[in-house]
Amino acid sequence: MNHWIIAPVVLPAVIAPLIVLLMRHDLVLQRVFSLAATVALCGVAAVLLATAATNPPEAYFLGNWPAPFGIVLVLDRLAAMMVALTAFLALMVQLYAIGSGWDRRGQHFHALFQFQLMGICGAFLTGDAFNLFVFFEVLLIASYGLMIHGGGRARLRSGVQYVAYNLVGSTLFLFALATIYSVTGTLNMADLAERVATLPEGEAAILRVAGVLLLAVFAIKGALVPFQFWLPGTYASAPGPVAALFAVMTKVGAYAVIRVFSLIFPPETPATGAFFAELLLPAALVTLALGAVGVLGAASLGRLVAFGAIASMGTLFTAISGFSPETTAAALFYLLHSTLATAVLFLVADLVLARRGSEDLIQRRPPIAQEGLIASLFFVGAIALAGMPPLSGFLGKLQILDALRGPNMVAVWGTVLVTSLLMIVGFARAGSLLFWKSHETLMEADPHEPDVLSFAAVGGLVAALVALTLAAGPVSSALGSVASELAERTPYIAANRLTEQPQ
């Protein structure tokens, strides 16, 4: 059995309590250990990526219980990719948090950060529906802590909303899981896939309800309309590096949709058919539109980026709703891209905030330290998130448009392109208001130490975007194989070695 599979969960799960236990009062030690753990996680992710690329999906039978009776982790290409993305993003964000001193502004940043990673990795790796819930909760509760890290009026007030909204989401998740269990009698995802495929006709209605509830849960995480409301306030109020890390949190929702609805409820399922895709697509398009409108109308940089994130989720879900290998591959490419791009912009927003004290886009302010560099980074991030060339966002959108030919083509293309324009205009407005200003009011820029670590972190993310762009060919063919593995389903199910009831 390949113990590497569980390492992304165990590693942070051990480091975090160790930090709490032994280095609670020593920030330097916390930083060293936490950073080392994240680096190690990157290494583990690389191992997993390599394993998954060359091997069929592999299950890890926790407690040595056979599936579907115990909990399994399943390493497949998708899971490995998501873990790797998380690890990389986490490393950059952590560098930024250390460089900018964000980790100093409250208690337990590093422990919560590691717990957050534990939750995210756990959610990506699990092959059990209820365990997915548990790790959703781990990642959520850690995210609550990170979101309100540092405290303060605005953050706590948005924090209440964020927590409340997600608590409702968690409750909904439980409703959904119980409903699924009551219909199928199992929780293992592979087993669910098999049972759902052969479900008696009379159970279809309840199953569909369960599916809708699940979709709603994932939609909350993924900020899909009409469940996107929590995002702008939360992301705009969260500490910069946390918002950047949250770039991958929305992707957890997207991941879950991909996983569950391509494994358990694929369009060829008799009981559900294309029902979910039909729900998903319009919602995704509206999400995209709303996000773009928000970008155009945002009054602060934080909210601008937050709406950009919503728009990117709309794009992503649009691609996902195709539920074909091509669309999934396109979606995954865009997923990688938008995670990095959103993170870049949130970090840039924090750089601006740290120097200016406000992200207000309306009032003109004196220039800021390192303005040229920050402006360039903003520009790069903006063209990435708006999906302008030459960065991967453009390639991603092209791929999505190319893959989504069909009856809904006009609606999809129209929405994607028009919203791109709105976002371009929005980002251009914001950029010019933020960084182009009257020389008459020119004052000496606030002296602000350029902290190398912060810029290195943003640079690292930008470099990743560039790398993704340059290596788009190999990456997208790899993602093609991820998507086809998902579409095939049988390797994943076979990895679970489902055992019959001993009766």
């Binding site: 948005s158 209440v160 409703f175 899981l177 009551s182």
Partner: protein
């Protein structure tokens, strides 16, 4: 018995949702608590009802109820306790910082 349980779950859900639609943090938290009662019973009942058939193995037992849903509910109870604790604290913090316990934060939409 089923109809009692179902109506109880429905009532708890309705009450919970009504309260989370209120404007202050406190009723919302109470509503979330009710909702979590509702969902706990919901999960529990999804394993079907049984009276006098506890999930503890014994020679004299005439049968057993579904132990799995019970384990799931236990997990759910614990998690929602943690979550409730957090939201209570965050709500308290928000109240102390802002001087109001309004849930709707109309000041956050940007100027």
């Amino acid at each position: 018995m089923e109809i009692l349980v179902a109506s109880a779950v429905g009532t708890l859900t309705a009450a919970g949702i009504y309260l989370i639609l209120r404007m202050r943090t406190f009723p919302v938290i109470v509503g979330l608590a009710l909702l979590s009662y509702a969902v706990n019973v919901f999960i529990f009942a999804s394993g079907r009802l049984a009276v006098g058939l506890p999930p503890v193995l014994s020679k004299t037992a005439q049968g057993y109820t579904d132990p799995l849903t019970q384990a799931l509910v236990l997990t759910a109870i614990v998690i929602s306790f943690g979550m409730t604790a957090v939201i209570v604290m965050v709500a308290l913090g928000a109240f102390l910082e802002a001087g109001t316990d309004r849930m709707d934060s109309d000041d956050e939409a940007g100027q």
